[in-house]
């Protein structure tokens, strides 16, 4: 009996979480009786009650409200952390990570592009509520409501800084993931954001081996580099960042005036604190202006080139759509390029459907993919260019400030501010006073 290497690795790395999956894969086959026994019918459980969906929305709303209060008013890192543990327990382990705002991007996209898709109200609420809160209060969803963020917060033991250049490059990934997620959902290719959810296997105590491995990788990296998924992959974080950038109120490091004591400078494990920068001299401004002009031109060139590359890449990318993949396989079998059949191609042949119909469908889908991929690569060209330009505009502040786009509002920096300690003292004194008055 051969024991697959992946099984061994799975056991070593993911035993606790892979157990249910192993059980599911190796489930004992149903006894094969030739007579005397009729196999009981397989019962499919009814769909979950909508009550839980509305309850989820209510709890999301309450959690977002509480998180915003704790971040902006209470300024309590410990209570934010406790709330995130609750979110991890409820949205993560109890509700098994579904539905979540990150995945709801795809539900929303599919609903926009496929009139036949019925999107649950809860999915719409999960998509919109955190964005609305971000518009008013910053990324308080990331701070204490997102179970994936909470899991990474929990394992962050010894934070290290990511080199700015590495961070800048990795920072492009969420945009690409967002674009790909929208493209795949719009074309019906699937929900890749969910398929590449590294934590859902943990929340459900079971999942595909590669997903468990993927999740473990993030958790291992997360021991030393804070929130790697949130910073370098989360597509919803892009939308939250955009909303948070224009938020009416936002998390601040100090409750008062920044004294530029520098004590908070290294407090953020996510590199989301913008330091004050000296004003550029006239020469430097001229130099920067010249470079800015070049960058703007580069951005336009990148967008145009990106569109061309997107047109070319659409063919290989479209193969991720199951229908196109099936059509490729069926044609490869027909043309004698491959031997044998796959489960999908066998099912297709047995269904009696026509190869020409399959090809027509695949061609239509590929045309949609072509449009989508061109737009995706134009988008990526713009993102790359604008990210470069953004480096200039990132550092125009005069005080130590949390970066409105990148800051998760986790409150780790609160205790580093001397003014915060003063505020706490005042609060304590007020509390003592109220107690003495009775």
């Amino acid at each position: 009996m051969r024991v697959g290497l992946h099984r061994i690795v799975s056991l070593i790395l993911g035993i606790p979480l892979a157990m249910n999956q192993l059980m599911a894969q190796d489930r004992f086959p149903r006894p094969d009786f030739e007579s005397e026994y009729s196999k009981p019918p397989i019962n499919t459980p009814p769909p979950q009650s909508t009550f839980y969906e509305y309850l989820d929305v209510l709890i999301l709303f309450l959690a977002l409200s509480l998180a915003s209060y704790l971040v902006l008013k209470k300024r309590s890192r410990n209570q934010i952390f406790l709330l995130s543990l609750f979110s991890l327990a409820y949205f993560g382990f109890w509700r098994e990570g579904c539905i979540c705002p990150i995945g709801s991007i795809q539900n929303t996209t599919l609903a926009l592009f496929d009139a036949g898709y019925f999107i649950p109200l809860s999915a719409i609420a999960f998509f919109i509520l955190p964005l609305i809160f971000a518009l008013f209060f910053g990324r308080t969803f990331c701070a204490a409501v997102c179970p994936m963020g909470a899991a990474q917060e929990l394992v962050l033991i010894k934070p290290h800084k990511v080199h700015p250049k590495v961070a800048a490059v990795l920072g492009l990934l969420p945009y690409a993931f967002l674009g790909a997620g929208v493209l795949f959902a719009a074309t019906g290719a699937g929900f890749i954001i969910c398929r590449l959810d590294p934590f859902v296997a943990f929340f459900r105590f079971g999942g595909e081996f590669k997903m468990i491995l993927f999740g473990l990788l993030f958790l291992l990296v997360g021991l030393f580099y804070g929130r790697p998924y949130c910073r370098f992959l989360c597509p919803y974080g892009v939308l939250l960042g955009w909303a948070s950038k224009f938020s009416k109120w936002h998390h601040s490091i100090t409750p008062d005036q920044c004294t530029q004591c520098k004590l908070c400078e290294e407090s953020c494990p996510f590199d989301a604190i913008d330091k004050p920068e000296p004003i550029l001299s006239a020469d430097e401004q001229k130099q920067a202006g010249s470079r800015l002009g070049k960058l703007i031109i580069s951005t336009l060139v990148l967008a145009i080139v990106g569109g061309g590359i997107g047109y070319l890449v659409s063919m290989p990318m479209s193969k991720m759509h199951p229908t196109i993949l099936l059509a490729e396989r069926v044609m490869a079998e027909k043309n004698g390029l491959v031997e044998g059949t796959t489960l999908a191609s066998r099912t297709f042949h047995e269904s009696g459907k026509l190869t020409s119909d399959l090809l027509t469908e695949a061609q239509d889908l590929r045309a949609k993919f072509r449009t989508g991929t061109v737009l995706l690569f134009i988008f990526m060209g713009l993102v790359i260019g604008l990210k470069g330009i953004g480096v200039f505009f990132k550092r125009t502040n005069l005080d130590y400030e949390s970066n409105r786009t990148d800051c998760f509002s986790c409150g780790r920096c609160f205790p580093y501010c001397p003014d915060e300690h003063e505020r706490q003292k005042v609060l304590d004194q007020q509390k003592d006073l109220y107690e003495s008055i009775g």
Binding site: F28, K165, L280, P316, M331, S351, G352, V391
Partner: protein
């Protein structure tokens, strides 16, 4: 400076967390090792596929009545299952133990690190490089990354290939995109009108001597359904009380390419009287129909089935029991994506449209009474009309929606012949009733259709009339053939030919092909005087209507399929 230096109580916390780190890690490693070993053992032992158990199973098949052996197998199986599930339970429990210890490990580590956390010391912070040079290097890095991304995309696209043709390239050679008017897709050809698109048809052959008989092949089961021809494939149905089948033959050599047995789709509680089916009609009287990609067949049982031209079953359904004393014989016809079924019966007669892609009923409309004739599809100048004859009337429907355009009570008796159409006029006839020529006045007119002439002489019983231009041909089961003027009903000529006609006449160019019950084909000119071109013997009886395509005639006799060509 860290918290341990000035907080003695924290030292206890430090010690505890350090101990827990070591302990939890040890537990995790030990349990992991045990679980791994256990899992390996499960896989290695493979208790579920034990050779001993397999041997016992084989033995039990040979000694099926041996109850002791049966019990032994069950006991052994139970033991194996217990061992298997026990091991799985151990693995699962071990997994939870590891999970617990890892959680303790992480939490302890967090506490351990927090108590060792140093106070911030700005003097030791890294120095931010010059803004412009820093931003320049970051920008260069981002642009380089973008360049790598795009170059990678370009490389991937260059190295990729696809098997899916461009939309501009026709998908011919697969299974679709054919002009049905150039094939023989239904009873009496395209639209069921009895007019062949191909005129290069032989006029001379002899079955007994084999002259111009390209091939002859046996048909597995009997049936009165006529052949369909699409490209180089010919389709037939056949069957009896026990089995109904669909056949596909190669037109090149008559090879039976595939043969599918149609499953019985009657509902379990349906009481179909197999003995009641008239042998003169049989179980496979209706001719099949095709959209060029799929072929549909219907049988006396009401089973309607669809196969792809390559023989894969697409769908099947039973349309319900019929109250029909001869058995169902109306042929199918296809309009775009719909398979239209004239499902006439004494009870609940219906016209049903089935979605060819999935077998779903798209629409169905009630009809008045029974018939045995087949529908025709014609374009009357302004619209497509589906024209049906039944035992009382001639009716026209919208083939897309089932809306009835018009109806005229010009028929009676047990109607078998199908209608004929030419130049805005439609014709119907039935033995012992009357033959009629009706003018279709078009939409919005009153009346929408009116009878222009009627006749009661020499009317067909089974063979359907056919019309083109000024000529209408009718052939009776007694052997009389009449050529009439379509406008007035005037008889141009009448001749007794052959032994009687069940097969319908087909117009090929300026000639008419009409085969009698003995298999003798009469070929005569489509003209106002009788001008015989030739008579050709098949050598055996036939009641089916031949198919004419690409220089060939395909004839189903009682037992064989013939291909005639030069």
């Amino acid at each position: 400076m860290n918290q341990l230096d000035n907080a003695p109580d924290v030292k206890v916390l430090f010690a505890i967390s350090r101990g827990l780190i070591v302990l939890s890690l040890l537990v995790a490693i030990i349990v992991s090792t045990l679980v791994l070993a256990n899992y390996y053992q499960i896989q290695r032992a493979d208790v579920l596929n034990s050779p001993s158990l397999d041997l016992l199973r084989v033995e039990l098949k040979e000694r099926a009545q041996d109850t002791i052996l049966r019990e032994d197998v069950r006991s052994f199986h139970l033991l194996a299952r217990k061992a298997y599930f026990n091991s799985l339970w151990q693995v699962k429990t071990g997994g939870y133990l590891i999970l617990g210890s890892l959680i303790i490990f992480v939490l302890s580590l967090k506490v351990f690190n927090s108590v060792r956390r140093k106070l911030p010391d700005p003097n030791r912070y890294r120095i931010t490089p010059d803004f412009l040079s820093f931003s320049h290097s970051v920008q260069t890095t981002i642009l380089t990354a973008g360049g790598i991304l795009f170059t990678s995309g370009l490389l991937v696209s260059i190295l990729s290939f696809t098997q899916i043709p461009d939309p501009d390239n026709a998908l011919s050679g697969l299974d679709d995109s054919i002009d049905l008017s150039q094939h023989w897709p239904a009873f009496r050809g395209p639209g069921g009108n009895g007019i062949a698109a191909h005129t290069d048809i032989p006029t001379d052959w002899d079955g007994p001597s084999g002259r111009n008989i390209l091939w002859k092949t046996p048909i597995p089961r009997p049936g009165y359904s006529s052949p369909l021809v699409i490209k180089d494939q010919l389709f037939l149905s056949g069957g009896g009380a026990s089995t109904r089948e669909v056949y596909c033959f190669s037109t090149k050599n008559g090879e039976l390419l595939w043969q599918q047995t149609v499953p019985n789709m009657l509902p379990p509680d349906a009481e179909f009287d197999y003995e009641f089916v008239d042998p003169g009609t049989g179980f496979a009287a209706p001719t099949m129909a095709t959209d060029g990609k799929r072929v549909m067949a219907i049988f006396a049982t009401g089973d309607l089935v669809c196969y792809t031209v390559s023989g894969d079953r697409a769908w099947g359904r039973n349309l319900g029991l019929l109250d029909n004393h001869y058995a169902h014989s109306s042929s199918l016809i296809v309009h775009e994506n719909l398979c239209l079924v004239q499902y006439d019966s004494f009870e609940n007669p219906r016209l049903i449209a089935i979605d060819i892609s999935n077998g779903a009923i798209v629409w169905e409309v009630s009809r008045r009474t029974i018939s045995w004739s087949s529908p025709i599809l014609v374009h009357t100048g302004e619209r497509m009309e589906l024209i049906l004859a039944d035992s009382k009337s001639l009716s026209s429907y919208n083939p897309e929606t089932g809306e009835q355009y018009w109806s005229n009570d010009c028929l009676s008796g047990e109607v078998g012949p199908s209608p004929a159409y030419t130049n805005g006029m439609v014709f119907c006839a039935n033995e012992y009733a009357q033959g009629s020529g009706l003018q279709i006045n078009g939409p919005g007119t009153d009346p929408p259709v009116e009878i222009m002439w009627q006749t009661t002489d020499y009317l067909p019983n089974t063979a359907s009339p056919v019309a083109q231009g000024d000529y209408l041909i009718m052939a009776t089961s007694g052997g009389m053939v009449s050529m009439l003027n379509t406008q007035s009903g005037e008889v141009y000529w009448q001749e007794y030919l052959g032994s009687g006609f069940y097969s319908s006449p087909i117009i090929v160019g300026n000639q008419v092909y009409l085969m009698d019950l003995e298999g003798k084909m009469f070929i005569f000119e489509l003209s106002s005087s009788y001008e015989l071109v030739n008579t050709c013997e098949l050598g055996e009886p036939s009641s089916c209507t031949p198919a004419f395509m690409s220089g060939r005639i395909y004839i189903r006799s009682d037992k064989f399929l013939y291909c005639i060509g030069e």
